[in-house]
Amino acid sequence: MTVAVPKQSISSRLLRALTLWALVWCVALALAVWLAVHEETEELLDDTLQATAEVLIGPLLADGAPAAAVSGPEGLKAAGSRRFVWQQVSHAGPAVVVRHSVGAPVLPLLATPSPGFSSLPEWRVYGVALGRDSQLLYVAQTTGERSEAMAELGFAVLLAGLPMGLLGLLWLRMRVRQELAPLLALSQRMADHDPLQPGATLGPAQHAELHPVHQAIDALAARLVQRVAQERAFTAHAAHALRTPLAGIDAQLAVALREAPPALQPRLLRVREAATRLQRVVVGLLTLFRSGLELQREPLNLHRLVERLAPEGLAVRVQATQPVSGDVDLLTAALLNLLDNAQRHGAQEVRISTPAPEVLRLHDDGEGADAARRQGWQAALDSQDYQGRTGLGLMLADLVARAHGGRLRLIETASGFAVELHLAPLLDLNQPET
């Protein structure tokens, strides 16, 4: 049975979660840093405006003559590319710019006297009273300049944070792989672990979390070993209890055949044939019972293997062109039963061939079976639902093929009956019988 590899992987799930968490964390951290830096930068820029105003007050108080007096809405635009300006504005009547720096708007930045900080769409303004004629000094900076400074700071924060984040992510991925490596090592150790070897254990766990897994596997292996020991003991007893009387029956019949009058001999011969068939079934079952434990796979000489298996009255022809390997005892049991089947269903001859490596095909000239019956048997073999649906011979042969990693296939033929023992995973199920 093939078990599908699960699509979900602990490693990829963990990495996905960590990446997501790292991204959220990076964004949150960047936002927090941005807010703090933004606040501090605003404060710093305001302090600069304030300091500039205090520096300018002295010279302006010393020089009292108005330098310019311009009014009109078009004068509010910042002239040229000046990003930092000042205005001396009189609020005695309507607000009038008394003096201003080069590039400053010619109209007052603020229409009403506003000492302290004010924000306009294009300017950040700091006003300070000059102490005569209701005049104020306005020092201003363009909001564009302030935004640019903020953007540069934000970019710098991002530039510093991103490599850190990427490095952190790479480090986390590495750590995840390192932490999951013991699981892979455990899988490998389990694959190499043979609990039936005396004193075999999985060994100490690499991590505390894997200790219970090791304990559970060792406990499972101990139960398996105990079960196998019981089954072996039972098989040995059953083998002795069944094989010896069968040998005795055959020996007695052989003697009886020699001693009996000619009239009785055909009857005794039939009894001996039946006893031989019974032997094959019993030996097959006993062999199969211990098959999962000790598969002795070796290259097969089919001619030699089949030589002694052919029942009386059945011609067996072997045409081996491809290599076949398998457990001799198991295959003997399977072939004996298949040959016996063929003979009981009217076959005079069975051809054994090897259509592909690790495939044995038996084709007899017996009565065969119609497509519906053959498909019914095949379905029973495929689902391993043997009871009441297939004979013992087919079941035994299928179990033997499965013990080798393959399956039994019933092949469509023009005449007779054909089966294929695949002794390796199936390659082509639809190859027609030729």
């Binding site: 083998a239 002795h240 029956i249 005892d329």
Partner: protein, 228 residues
């Protein structure tokens, strides 16, 4: 051949004993290891040993015999079919290993093969001048003519052929051919030897005065006696 069958199962033991006797062998049947003491000092052509016996292991008994230097060919008859068991049996001193159930005909054939090999004659047919003895086919030819022998005559010829090249003491030959019956019929052996000489020629079985019998025309071993 004189065979010692060690088998506890009545059905099988009786069947094998009768089958082998019908084949012309002398069969002594021990049902337990303890019964073997009765045959101490007796010569056998082969031992047929069951592994699991009521009072011990047949393989352990065989190992003990081998340690004492016994070279009698031995066949293990057992229900144990695992490769490890077969290896253990063969390494333990068995010359062949037969897993139950088996056809008695196969046992008989293997027995002949084992005894031939043990005697140093791998081939089935051995020649003594004009006489050819086929141990596998259980037949004898004088020139091109097949000669019919009784079971006892064949037993004498077979015992001497398997020991070709050496003198076989009369008592040993009696034991091999007649078994325990030898005591009851002390001149029976001479009768069979005489009959054999009449059918195959006087010179075939040579009497070594005071010592026993030997196949004539044979050298130190069957190979020199003309193994084909």
């Amino acid at each position: 051949m004189r065979l010692l069958l060690i088998e506890d199962d009545e059905l099988l033991g009786e069947g094998l004993r009768d089958f082998l006797r019908a084949d012309g062998h002398v069969v002594d049947w021990a049902r337990r290891l303890g019964d073997i003491d009765a045959y101490r000092g007796e010569a056998f052509d082969a031992w047929l040993v069951d592994w699991q016996l009521p009072d011990g292991s047949g393989l352990d008994w065989l190992r003990a015999q081998r340690r004492r230097g016994a070279t009698t060919p031995a066949l293990m008859l057992t229900a144990r079919d695992l490769l490890a068991d077969r290896l253990q049996g063969l390494d333990g001193g068995a010359d062949d290993y037969l897993v139950k159930p088996f056809a008695p005909e196969e046992l008989s054939a293997r027995l002949r093969a084992v005894c031939r090999r043990s005697a140093g004659a791998a081939a089935a047919r051995v020649h003594f001048g004009d006489v050819a003895v086929d141990l596998a086919a259980r037949g004898v030819w004088l020139g091109a003519e097949r000669v019919e022998l009784t079971a006892r005559e064949w037993a004498v010829l077979e015992a001497l052929t398997l020991r070709a090249g050496r003198i076989v003491a009369k008592t040993e030959l009696e034991g091999l051919v007649l078994g325990f019956d030898a005591v009851l019929a002390s001149n029976a052996l001479e009768v069979h030897v005489s009959s054999l000489r009449r059918k195959l020629g006087r010179e075939v079985v040579e009497t070594v005065r005071g010592l026993g019998y030997r196949m004539a025309g044979a050298g130190p071993g069957p190979a020199e006696a003309g193994v084909s």
